[in-house]
């Protein structure tokens, strides 16, 4: 594998070569078009297209991975998809990180080169379609050249792993032999999805292979952003406002929370400190080693600007304010996929039910804190970054340096966790700004405290639910009002501005699948000013908490089994199938001593992966601690390209879901985040992990989906539902801290209705 970042000395060579790179333009219609072509390197080494490099000398086929490996397995999945269509011998496949290049822009993901939504090559937004076409096209090129040598029609040729075959004459040419031909023609036919292999002919997909990145991750060889070392580079630590500050470089510079007065005298006394640099939003200490910059940062005295909107933000007050707005229908927002007439249903209902849910901010806490390394020389810039968005990084660096995007070259490293956080571009912009000012390569490393105090938090929410029930026990009406700040407004303002008030990343999951005839869903945006961003599973983490908790509340009101009620109401057969399966797996109907089961379902929405979970919990009624003993999960991802790996992704989601349900929260007072490190932002450790049992259905073979985020959302309602079934107390707030659990249990015991 070639994972070393290029050194400055090699850079000119690299630019020279990549300037000639062969690329594809993928159009929305599904066609791939060759836009340029060349053969490069050693004799017999050839780029068949932007994605596939065949080396006769090394007897390898190297596949370029367009986006970052952050644990989602894409370094193995992209090569597998390409190898399947290329009909390659898996043992000869190598993977290499693609440069930032228009050839790797994904028309199915914001039309950028980047990763989000756990694109384990999934259908809607992953590279699932694009890379299989690239593999098929590379195969077509190999066939055409072999056919030309033999003077036969391409239609007479087939392939077997790493060989073009002319069965009629018994001739074969290996892919490596084709690569060595004198004049390899790279014209390729236009292919569409109809030209791809049907699932029944797959040789590689669906069978577990060893991940290509794992050997590098057991001996320290894997290079993450923080590991980048460029000779002569400088380091930077950055002192930030006490107020949470994470401007998106494309839409703001954070100057409203920036420095007013800087006293750098003590800092400049520290050996190794080179310069103190005022940035619009913060103050950077640049030095020859990282520790000197840490000490220099501690010695800085800065007065900060006051009075920004963020500095007036108090998370406890916002929960109360926004809960009032959620319940006040005169405060109008934007409706989402409403059907029928909820008001009429409510008026004619035999009985009605309402409930309010609130959720706190949560933080990503990736194990690798934000960092980036930039080298700006003359009028071009190289960036080495653990980034989920190569194109966005180019845009951000261009914006803060004044260079054009085509002058920004992004080298993507491994990511020590992404989870949405590393779509953020401020660290990249900071490195770019500092490199420009210092005229040197600069690596910016955020401290853990900065990472916690200036994150892209999941929005805080208040949700108000109403249901109308008929005399014969049917749910005839449903209303769901969500109040929250917008991720889109901060992180993709250009998209927000086109349709203000709508935020698919926040309101996702509100339009539940239960076939209720009269439904009202409404998102009411409130501007908070503190940074909110893309957190694992985005809005589903809170919307599905409300939806799936409320379904259980309805079941209790109707005196029905909550799992059966879901099956009765679901219109989707696959949804019913995962619920049936998890009922069986968990032995749902068996009464337990001292523990109870709760169910949560996630229809998957645009992730296209259904999941139902059942959890078994106990509650320590004295101290209020919830303990999860078992989790059963039944999922239908369509095709499981790598079944073992898919289970890993689901487990990650389940553990994230548990962690955010039971303890994770960011609280903010006067704009200042009250947490600072893992001591006060605790995440689940090994001694708290339940037994997790996962079974997969593959209901729609040939369809791909995203499994990385799908397990997060159903955990909170499943746990709340189990606690209710065990104690009679309904927890309607996340996280479910012991103090709150004690309180709702006490209230449930005191009165006839749960609070």
């Amino acid at each position: 594998m070639h994972l070393q970042p290029s050194q400055p000395l090699q850079r000119r060579e690299f630019l020279k070569r990549s300037g000639l790179a062969l690329g594809f333009l993928a159009s929305p219609a599904g066609l791939l078009r060759v836009v340029d072509a060349h053969a490069c390197g050693e004799e017999g080494d050839i780029d068949l297209n932007a994605w596939v490099h065949v080396s006769n000398s090394e007897n390898t086929i190297t596949v370029k991975c367009p986006t970052a490996e952050m644990g989602q397995g894409i370094y193995t999945l992209i090569p597998l998809l390409i190898a399947e269509e290329l009909d390659a011998d898996w043992r000869t496949i190598r993977v290499e990180q693609a440069p930032s290049d228009k050839a790797f822009i994904n028309p199915d993901h914001f039309n950028v080169q980047g990763v989000g939504g756990s694109p384990v090559a999934r259908g809607a937004q992953g590279y699932w379609r694009v890379v299989r076409l690239a593999g098929a096209q590379a195969r077509a090129i190999l066939i055409a050249n072999a056919a030309s040598v033999w003077g036969v029609a391409t239609g007479e040729c087939t392939t077997e792993p790493n060989n073009v075959v002319h069965a009629a004459s018994g001739r074969k040419l290996s892919y490596m032999q084709v690569a060595k031909l004198d004049d390899v023609k790279l014209d390729a036919p236009l292919l569409t999805e109809k030209d791809l292999k049907p699932a029944s002919q797959w040789r590689l997909l669906g069978k577990d292979v060893q991940r290509l990145d794992v050997p590098l991750k057991v001996n320290g060889a894997a290079k993450y952003g923080i590991d980048v070392q460029i000779p002569g580079m400088l380091y930077a630590s950055i002192l930030r406002s006490p107020v949470a500050t994470l401007p998106h470089p494309l839409y703001g510079d954070g100057a409203e929370n920036g420095p007013l007065k800087v006293d750098a005298a003590a800092t400049m006394q520290i050996e190794g400190v080179v310069k103190v640099v005022e940035l619009p939003h913060a103050v950077a200490v640049v030095g020859t080693d990282y520790w000197a910059t840490v000490l220099g940062k501690r010695a800085l005295k800065v007065e900060w600007k006051q009075g920004s909107l963020a500095s007036q933000y108090d998370s406890e007050a916002k929960k109360r304010e926004w809960a009032v707005i959620a319940a006040d229908r005169s405060k109008q927002g934007r409706a989402i996929d409403n059907t029928g007439n909820f008001d009429a249903a409510f008026k004619s209902a035999a009985q009605t039910l309402s409930a309010d849910y609130v959720t706190d901010h949560v933080h990503h806490a990736c194990m690798e804190p934000f960092n980036a390394t930039a080298s700006m020389m003359h009028d071009d810039l190289e960036l080495w970054a653990p980034t989920q968005g190569q194109t966005w990084a180019q845009q951000a660096c261009a914006k803060v340096t004044g260079l054009t995007e085509d002058k920004i070259r992004v080298h993507t490293t491994f990511l020590g966790g992404g989870f949405g956080a590393k779509t953020e571009q401020l660290p990249n912009a900071e490195a770019a700004m500092l490199s420009k000012i210092m005229d040197k390569t600069v690596k910016v490393i955020w401290s853990r405290e900065d990472d916690v105090k200036h994150g892209a938090y999941r929005p805080l929410t208040a949700q108000h639910m109403n249901a109308a029930l008929s005399a014969d026990g049917k749910v005839t009406g449903w209303s769901h009002r969500l109040v929250a700040d917008s991720v889109l407004l901060r992180a993709r303002k250009d998209v927000w501005d086109k349709n203000p008030g709508i935020d698919g990343a926040v309101a996702v999951g509100m339009t539940q699948p239960y076939g209720i005839p009269n439904r009202h869903h409404e998102y009411v945006h409130q501007l908070g000013g503190v940074p909110v961003g893309y957190w694992n599973a985005v809005g589903n983490g809170f919307t599905i908490f409300a939806v799936e908790s409320f379904i259980d509340e309805i079941a209790a009101k109707l005196g029905k089994d909550p799992l059966q009620l879901r099956i009765d109401m679901l219109t989707d057969a696959q949804g019913r199938a995962v619920l049936e399966l998890v009922r069986k797996m968990s032995d749902w109907n068996r009464k337990r001593e001292a523990t109870a089961l709760g169910v949560g379902y996630n229809h998957g929405g645009r992730w296209n992966c259904q999941i139902a979970v059942v959890v078994e919990v106990s509650v320590d009624r004295v101290n209020g601690t919830i303990k999860v003993h078992n989790v059963w999960a039944a999922a239908d991802p369509g095709t499981a390209i790598q079944p073992r790996h898919l289970r890993q992704q689901l487990e990650t989601g389940i553990i994230w879901g548990m962690s955010s349900t039971l303890r994770e929260r960011v609280t903010i007072k006067a704009g200042v985040v009250q947490q600072s490190n893992f001591s006060d932002y605790p995440v689940l450790r090994m001694d708290e992990i339940p037994a997790i049992h996962i079974e997969l259905l593959q209901g729609a073979l040939g369809q791909s989906s995203g499994a990385g985020q799908i397990g997060v959302a159903p955990m909170a309602p499943a746990i709340a539902n189990a606690v209710q079934r065990l104690t009679g107390a309904r927890v309607r707030a996340m996280p479910m801290l012991p103090k709150q659990v004690r309180m709702v249990i006490a209230e449930a015991n005191a009165g006839p209705t749960a609070v």
Binding site: V214, G220, A222, C366, M367, F414, G416, V683, R685, M686
Partner: protein, 156 residues
């Protein structure tokens, strides 16, 4: 700022002369001066275990050890655990396909190596208790447990 000191350490069996501020954490000496970047920065406060190395054979969090503290001592990092990823834990980590993002795994493996030195045949409860200082945000905990059990069997 603490004054610069010159000390000698043994890192992965090689004697190294280091000149740096006395309070520089061992973590940054390893990563920047010795270019041993397998040891990771996670929290800087001894709370996550990503920076775990062995100091005179015992697992420690290298972000909490200053250069002054470790003068003259012997340090093993993930790069020195074996020459060719052949330590039973490294083989078990591959066999169980433990890592996802992988960032915490150097620390996990070094901590697990400390466990197997102290307790060659740990029970599951002993594994969980010993490994709990180390955070894995991808939640690979179940596979870490299985990999340690696998390595313990091979060592037995």
């Amino acid at each position: 700022m603490a004054a610069k000191i010159d000390v000698t350490l043994t890192v992965n069996g090689v004697r190294q002369k280091i000149s740096a501020a006395a309070d520089t954490p061992l973590l940054w000496v390893l990563r920047e001066q010795l270019k041993l970047t397998g040891t990771k920065f996670g929290c800087g406060a001894g709370q996550c275990g990503a920076c775990t190395v062995h100091l005179n054979g015992q697992p420690v969090q290298s972000c909490l050890q200053t250069l002054q503290d470790v003068a003259g001592k012997s340090i093993t990092t993930i790069e020195g655990l074996s020459k060719d990823s052949s330590h039973p834990l490294q083989k078990a980590w591959v066999a169980e396909q433990v890592p996802q993002c992988g960032y915490c795994q150097s620390g996990q493996i070094m901590r697990a190596a400390g466990l197997l030195k102290e307790t060659p045949r740990p029970t599951r409860e002993q594994i969980v208790e010993y490994m709990s200082p180390n955070i894995c945000r991808c939640g690979t905990y179940a596979r870490i447990t299985r990999a340690i059990e696998r390595a313990a069997k091979e060592l037995a």
